[in-house]
């Protein structure tokens, strides 16, 4: 029953255990499937769709879809790269992403995904330019959801690891955003050393540790020289320098 089985990603044979997602099996085999809402140590939630792959011809999110024995999975085809480019572009258009002034620039996973996917083309979407208030009430932490991609990583880290429920989704549809459990961050029990506040938890520049902006010089930031790939996430190589 619990025997490992095999399937293929872009023609490469991958071994998987029963119950593993396509992403987990791919990670163990060292094959990178791009992702934003999924990160090591948190339950997958399957919301950003950047990990979209085709399993036996059907588009699924690799982080939540169980691997199937003998399945043929497409990961880096032109069609799928096109979907991923559009998804990443829409995330850019939905928020306010001013990379030249952003603390996360150079270590931001959204930006790194744009680089990896080679996004330069003229855009077909409008910029929504929301005006979301910045919450700088906490002595150690700033929350700027103008850059939020609604990945839920802060929510899951706070709920499942810190056991605090500091962050939660509020609103629906286009008005959905991340809120805090209280009127402002200073009124919650959030602490600087919570996993939710770890620089590796938020993939973009929403959760900022005061006094730590722009800590790595240009040229030495995480994604300055190397594209985003496996091994990015809390406890890995982010936010250490």
């Amino acid at each position: 029953m619990n025997k490992p089985f095999k399937f293929e990603i872009d023609g490469i044979e991958i071994e998987a255990q029963r119950g593993q997602s396509i992403m987990q099996a791919a990670d163990e085999a060292g094959v990178y499937i791009p992702r934003l809402c999924d990160t090591e140590g948190l339950e997958p939630q399957g919301s950003c769709r950047v990990c979209v792959v085709k399993q036996n011809g059907r588009a699924v999110s690799a982080c939540t879809q169980p691997a199937i024995e003998g399945a043929k999975v497409e990961n880096e085809t032109e069609e799928i790269l096109g979907y991923r480019r559009d998804l990443v572009r829409m995330l850019y258009h939905e928020g306010n992403h001013l990379c030249p002034i952003c603390e996360a620039s150079g270590r931001c996973e959204l930006q790194a995904m744009g680089y990896r996917l080679g996004i330069t083309q003229a855009t077909k979407y409008p910029y929504l330019q929301p005006a979301r208030p910045v919450d700088a009430s906490h002595p150690d932490i700033v929350l700027d959801t103008n850059r939020c991609i609604l990945c839920g990583r802060c929510i899951r880290a706070s709920r499942d690891i810190d056991k605090k429920h500091v962050f939660e989704y509020v609103g629906r549809g286009i008005n959905k955003r991340v809120g805090v459990n209280g009127n402002k961050l200073a009124e919650t029990d959030v602490k600087l050393n919570d996993r939710a506040i770890d620089l590796a938890t938020c993939p973009v520049g929403c959760i900022i540790q005061k006094g730590r902006g722009f800590f790595a010089p240009i040229g030495e930031r995480q994604f300055d020289k190397k594209p985003i790939t496996l091994g990015v996430g809390p406890g890995k190589n982010r936010g250490k320098s």
Partner: protein
Amino acid sequence: MKKRIATVSLAGCFGCHMSLLDIDERLLELLQQVEFDRSPLNDLKRFTRRCDIGLVEGGCCNEENVHTLQEFRRNCDVLIAVGQCAVMGGLPVMRNAIMHSDDPLRECLETAYLDSDKVYNPSNQIPNDAALPLLLDKVYTLADVVKVDYQIPGCPPSGDTLWNTLEALLAGKPVELAYEQLRYD
């Protein structure tokens, strides 16, 4: 025949033009292949004839920017948005989302000319001379106003990025940038 290039800086800081000068001695190579038409580099204020490539730095923050951009679109076969300001508004676009303001433009002007304690403005007026181009309600990206054929992101894009893009365009080849040459900051 040499290709013709026109360049302009709209709501930009001229950093992108400075970056073009950063191609250093390759400028001479470029001048073998192209002739500059309307551009701040040669101080030509009007198009002398139709151009193959238009490089536009900066987005649109006033009426004059819009007219200039439309003129570039009319006169250039390939229109390229150069730098974050042209691509997505860049730093000037910050005025579109001044927090909690129903009237971000007014708040921006009042802070810049009246309210800030750093301001020295004895007349206590916001400049409104008829000779000044009218500010737009918001800062617009190039693609908001005209069809843009290509974008070169970066603030500014490096000299190498600009050079590789121009070289490929002039040779009629697809643009291929090395990983380090594609930047949004």
